[in-house]
Symmetry: C2
Subunit: 319 residues, 2 copies
Amino acid sequence: MSSQPNEPSELHRADAGAVPDPALALVLDANRLTHNTAPTRFVEADEIRFAYRRFGFPLGTPIVLLQHFMGNLDTYDPAITDHLATGREVILTDNAGVGLSTGAAPQTVAEMARHAASLIDALGLEHVDLLGFSMGGYVAQQIAVDRPELVRRLILVGTGPRGGEGMDQLAPDVAPLFGAVHDPQDLMWLPIFFSPSQDSQAAGRRFLQRIRARTEDRDVPVSATTVAAHAAAAREWGAAAPGSFDYLSGIAHPTLVVNGSDDIVVPTINSYILQQNLPNAELILFPDSNHGSHFQFTALFNRSVTDFVDVESGSILVG
Amino acid sequence: MSSQPNEPSELHRADAGAVPDPALALVLDANRLTHNTAPTRFVEADEIRFAYRRFGFPLGTPIVLLQHFMGNLDTYDPAITDHLATGREVILTDNAGVGLSTGAAPQTVAEMARHAASLIDALGLEHVDLLGFSMGGYVAQQIAVDRPELVRRLILVGTGPRGGEGMDQLAPDVAPLFGAVHDPQDLMWLPIFFSPSQDSQAAGRRFLQRIRARTEDRDVPVSATTVAAHAAAAREWGAAAPGSFDYLSGIAHPTLVVNGSDDIVVPTINSYILQQNLPNAELILFPDSNHGSHFQFTALFNRSVTDFVDVESGSILVG
């Protein structure tokens, strides 16, 4: 794959979902992969064989998704990725040691960021938007710091800054949710991603239906070794320290920060801290929601993200 | 004017800007008033002759705008009101003692809310959306508490809760901005509504052009007596007190809270406090912006507000 333009194409500006040439549209439609049909592919970098999936409209700046703790290629939400795919390429990733990716999961976010950037490099992408959820948001921030030229825009969901509030460890009532055994196991996400309300839990069950809909070529669960390594990485990232937010002033990328009203995993105040300390960040907090607010307010999230990535620059937002 | 339906019409759900019947569209177009052409009208209530302007598409739930400290009918932004008017009626209001409205400006938000509700009643409106900016946001909250059945949705911009942080008085460097003499006087809003950045100040100058564009039938400046009374009302509302946020749990209305990243008038943290304490509130914070962030990110603000008021209920937001 060749490099991508620095700015979205005219097409993106006019109508991110439209295909200008009917003949081209037919060709694209015939070959169109979706979240559920895109094959798992592999690329080699850092002596790791990274698993990823790639689909969507092959113009403009691609968006790379970075996954949460204990998540894999199958826990991205097709209601989000298929929508994003109408206007750009979407690349779902497994970091080192996650799911079908080989290698050992590192015990620091810095190392996870290095691996994720190597994966992006190996795909031949020179300029991408990053959508990082939870721990994937830590990784996205670190990539923006280490490799600023690789990143065009950042979308940080259910995440927080280095040394944020209540981020050194999970709350005592939350930690057991990650170890609980369920049948099927994906039921674990209902109390982690969704609020206790009826509406939110119903949205959670719809989310589970969506992530179960892919029946073939699925990813494999995250191993206990990887869980332990990533838990160590999260603790290191979350350890409070004087000046731990200082790096945020150096992330000049336009950033969209999104979270639920009561995130029990990465407390919601950290999304506010991100917005207040990043030079160019918008914040959206949804009502009656938890760590996975974007799986609940999917339509609003999709609209906000496409608004955010489709405009030419931050300054075009100025009315 | 007769009463309004409780829920937006089918038309609103499908496409808030469209007119279904070409013949009807012609009739409406011929009679269409805009922000700049709608005449100042008057209605009597509470022994006050209230000044207001009313325009827009006469279906669905009307939206009533409640103005900021030292603002009048001419400081609402036509880039916002004319957009909202494509999908509903827009009603701009002067509270008692403001601009062309007669009566004495009260020294409490409670009394301001009583007057604003009387004005809405006198217009024959039984169910409205309220968009309150700054002190207008205090009034909107108070109406939602006192007259919950009168309100469908709340939009709270650049505002805060009773007894919020840093709301008992203006910061020492901010207070003089409200007394400074300018030629023309509306230049006072540049440092109050916009951030010091070039982009934000440029947006501010465009805002001033917009609010100067109405050349006839303009409102009159707010009197010194009214300024003093409203300053007292703001101090009373902002005075810190234990449990001062408790009333927010009783405002069940779907609420959209919007502010700039660094509001120097009503500190931004208060928008976060509103979102965290209201049972059903979404928060949007814009980057590089101040008290008047909606005048700067006008397109995004309009999109967010119409998304918010056009959906059938909060629960339809659940993906």
